[in-house]
């Protein structure tokens, strides 16, 4: 199948409006690992013939890392620029694979005049499964032990705990929870601008601590729903030399793999 990525400005020029804008995010656009998640999610959108578009070069960082690091100026510059673009095209609905983009677009843009229906891809995929539009082939993951690492910006920040789990359960795999999950989940160590700097002095890196907790249930797969968690836990698994036996995989990739997209 030939996969397409419609760009919003081109669609609009042709007089078309997409049902949903896929917000790719900086990690999804530039980070090699996260790019594979973007690709997987795009394939799903294509296969289901969803009328979507991306902003392409008109998308800028939401500003989340700057705001949380304390630099409101940089945040405001990016946010206002994005809102101008989105409002200009009359965007109504946005789906994103990044919980940080999701949180900022959904909770913080309205104060600046950016009002959209924003969904994270975990919720989006869950809805597609529930509506019967997305059928997931059992098989690939049958009998495999999958554990899920809660992203702080999805879980505690926005109370989304069930959607990613529902997506994993559709795989016919064995979802095992670790002790510190859901509201008690430990951060991967990336939030609040930490992704871009060294840890402060301490005994241990946070991602190592979290990876150890996740490995306690001996999973075959650690499922994630955030590009930053993905990087952090992947590093953690490498640090324990377990990269051959434990895969760190985004929920969109799980679906794409199960359905051999």
């Amino acid at each position: 199948m030939q996969y397409n990525v419609p760009v919003l400005s081109e669609l609009v020029a042709e007089g078309k409006t997409p049902d949903v804008v896929f917000w790719v995010g900086c990690a999804g656009s530039f980070d090699q690992r996260a790019q594979r998640v973007t690709v997987a999610f795009t394939k799903i959108l294509n296969r289901l013939q969803i009328n979507f578009a991306v902003l392409g070069t008109e998308e800028a960082c939401t500003g989340d890392p700057a705001r949380r690091a304390g630099n409101e100026f940089v945040f405001q510059m990016l946010a206002q620029q994005n809102i101008a673009a989105l409002n200009n095209y009359g965007v109504k609905k946005i789906v994103t694979t990044c919980p940080h983009c999701f949180n900022t677009l959904k909770n913080e843009y309205p104060a600046l005049g950016g009002n959209y229906e924003v969904v994270h891809h975990s919720t989006y995929l869950q809805q597609l499964i529930n509506e019967g539009k997305l059928k997931v082939e059992g098989g690939t993951f049958k009998g495999k032990k999958i554990t899920y690492h809660d992203s702080c910006y999805l879980g505690r920040a926005n109370d989304i705990y069930e959607a990613p789990r529902a997506v994993i359960e559709a795989l016919d795999a064995d979802l095992v929870e670790i002790k510190k999950c859901k509201t008690n989940g430990l951060c991967c160590g990336a939030g609040g601008g930490q992704m871009f700097k060294e840890d402060e002095p301490g005994k241990k890196r946070i991602n190592i601590e979290r990876t150890e907790q996740l490995m306690e249930v001996n999973p075959d797969v650690i499922a994630v729903a955030c590009p930053f968690c993905n990087t952090m836990i992947t590093d953690g698994v490498k640090n324990e030399n377990k990269q051959d036996t434990i895969k760190v995989v985004d929920i969109a990739e799980l679906i794409a793999q199960a359905n051999s997209y």
């Binding site: 991306v54 998308e59 409101e72 920040a157 430990l186 990336a190 609040g192």
Partner: protein, 429 residues
């Protein structure tokens, strides 16, 4: 009314009046301290507020039962004290259905008191002997530590007095009427001492009564100085719970307008914005809600136990952030008392109390906010201080300066050209 009774009543009124006066002064000071903060609008309906308060403050069920039962008891002590009589409520209720209700309440208090007595001893052991990690952190050295033990000691003394009072009284009642009031525990104790001479029983009973009253008053005066203030402040604090999702950071309107005027020269910055404040350097720059948070903190340390930075050995402890904020307010109000209302020292919450290393360590994961039993947000204070550290003091780690520059120039935290935003599509087919 005998001379002795009048003396007793006068003594009672003086004691209670003085205690209330002293306690009120301190409460007023705390109220003023909280008002040092900046205004913050909390947009919630009365229904939401009451719901938050009932869910959280009364959700600590133990506390609710305790408050209810002790109130009935305190009312009696007050009426007794003002009239110089004893067991006023019992005698008033005697014979009616209220009598059994009264006996039930006293039994309830006694059983709860016994349980509290046992639990208090366990708490003391937990803090001194078993060394539970949450209670051993550096920020608890000194006053907080003594404070916690003082309260536990108060509780033991108070309960001892309650039992002295009730058993002495029960023993006397038994002697007079051939049977007790029907109090299970003190009836049992009273039975054991019923062979004591009446004078001694009266002495035990009176000592218990006055001791009990004194402990309550001491507690009232001590309370505003203690971390146990949270027992009261939990109510207003949960009443004013912020409604936003935990992930949302408050907009800085002045900076929004400033940037807007940069992007669009025709935009006029409203005069009402005033001078731009970069987050918080000191308690004056925090919202009153954050200051109320600081006074409501129980120092239980659940936040710190859940904090990923703290768990991995970093300096950050959200509990310490709350304690530092309160200490700063107390230091300012002490300074004002000594040197007048214009008092200023060259100190700030940022730097002199909370270090930058602590602020840099936070991942904004909201674990502390989630854990707090009384809806406190240490994260809010951390982020306001961080804003000041970065924008006012321009003191940010080199790696952050790099991402700020990249975001400004390339619209992404990494140094990639914005034109390459669609490069990933090459891997699609």
């Amino acid at each position: 009314m005998s001379f002795l009774t009048i003396i007793q009543i006068l003594l009672f009124i003086t004691l209670v009046g003085a205690s209330f006066f002293v306690a009120f002064r301190k409460f007023k000071e705390i109220y003023d301290n909280i008002n040092m903060g900046k205004p913050e609008q909390i947009d919630t309906t009365l229904g939401f507020r009451l719901k938050s308060m009932f869910l959280i403050a009364f959700g600590q069920k133990k506390m609710f039962k305790l408050t209810f039962a002790t109130q009935i008891e305190l009312i009696e002590i007050f009426i007794d004290g003002l009239t110089g009589k004893h067991r006023i409520l019992y005698h008033a209720f005697e014979g009616s259905f209220l009598e059994s209700l009264y006996v039930f309440v006293i039994n309830f208090i006694e059983i709860l008191s016994l349980l509290t007595f046992i639990v208090t001893i366990i708490f003391i052991l937990r803090r001194t002997t078993f060394k539970v990690a949450r209670f051993q952190m550096p920020e608890l050295k000194g006053w907080p530590w003594r404070d916690a033990l003082n309260i536990l000691a108060f509780e033991l003394t108070l309960i001892t007095f309650i039992f002295m009072m009730n058993s002495g009284d029960s023993a006397l009642h038994m002697k007079e009427h051939g049977e007790g009031y029907g109090f299970i525990l003190s009836g049992f104790l009273g039975n054991m001492i019923s062979s004591f001479p009446n004078g001694l029983l009266h002495f035990i009973e009176k000592t218990g009564w006055w001791g009990h009253l004194c402990m309550v008053m001491v507690f009232l005066v001590y309370l505003p100085y203690s971390k146990h203030l949270h027992i009261l402040l939990a109510f207003p604090n949960t009443f004013f719970t912020r409604p936003e999702p935990k992930g949302e950071m408050r907009n800085m309107t002045a900076i929004e307008h400033e940037v807007k005027s940069m992007l669009d020269p025709s935009f006029v910055v409203p005069a009402t914005d005033g001078e731009i404040k970069f987050g918080a350097k000191d308690v004056y720059d925090l919202s009153w809600k954050s200051l109320l948070d600081a006074y409501s903190c129980t120092e239980c340390g659940r936040c710190t136990a859940a904090c990923p930075a703290n768990q991995t050995g970093k300096k950050l402890s959200p509990r310490k952030i709350m304690m530092d904020t309160r200490d700063r307010m107390e230091d300012i109000s002490k300074g004002k008392k000594e040197h007048g209302p214009d008092f200023a020292d060259n100190r700030n919450l940022l730097g002199d109390y909370v270090t930058k290393e602590e602020l840099r360590a936070c991942t904004t994961c909201n674990a502390c906010v989630e854990e707090c039993p009384v809806n406190i947000s240490p994260l809010n204070i951390i982020l306001e201080l961080r804003r000041n550290m970065i924008m006012d003091e321009a003191d940010s780690p080199a790696e952050w300066n790099t991402i700020f520059a990249n975001m400004e120039n390339n619209q992404a935290p990494w140094q990639f050209s914005p034109d390459d935003r669609l490069k990933w599509t090459e891997e699609l087919n």
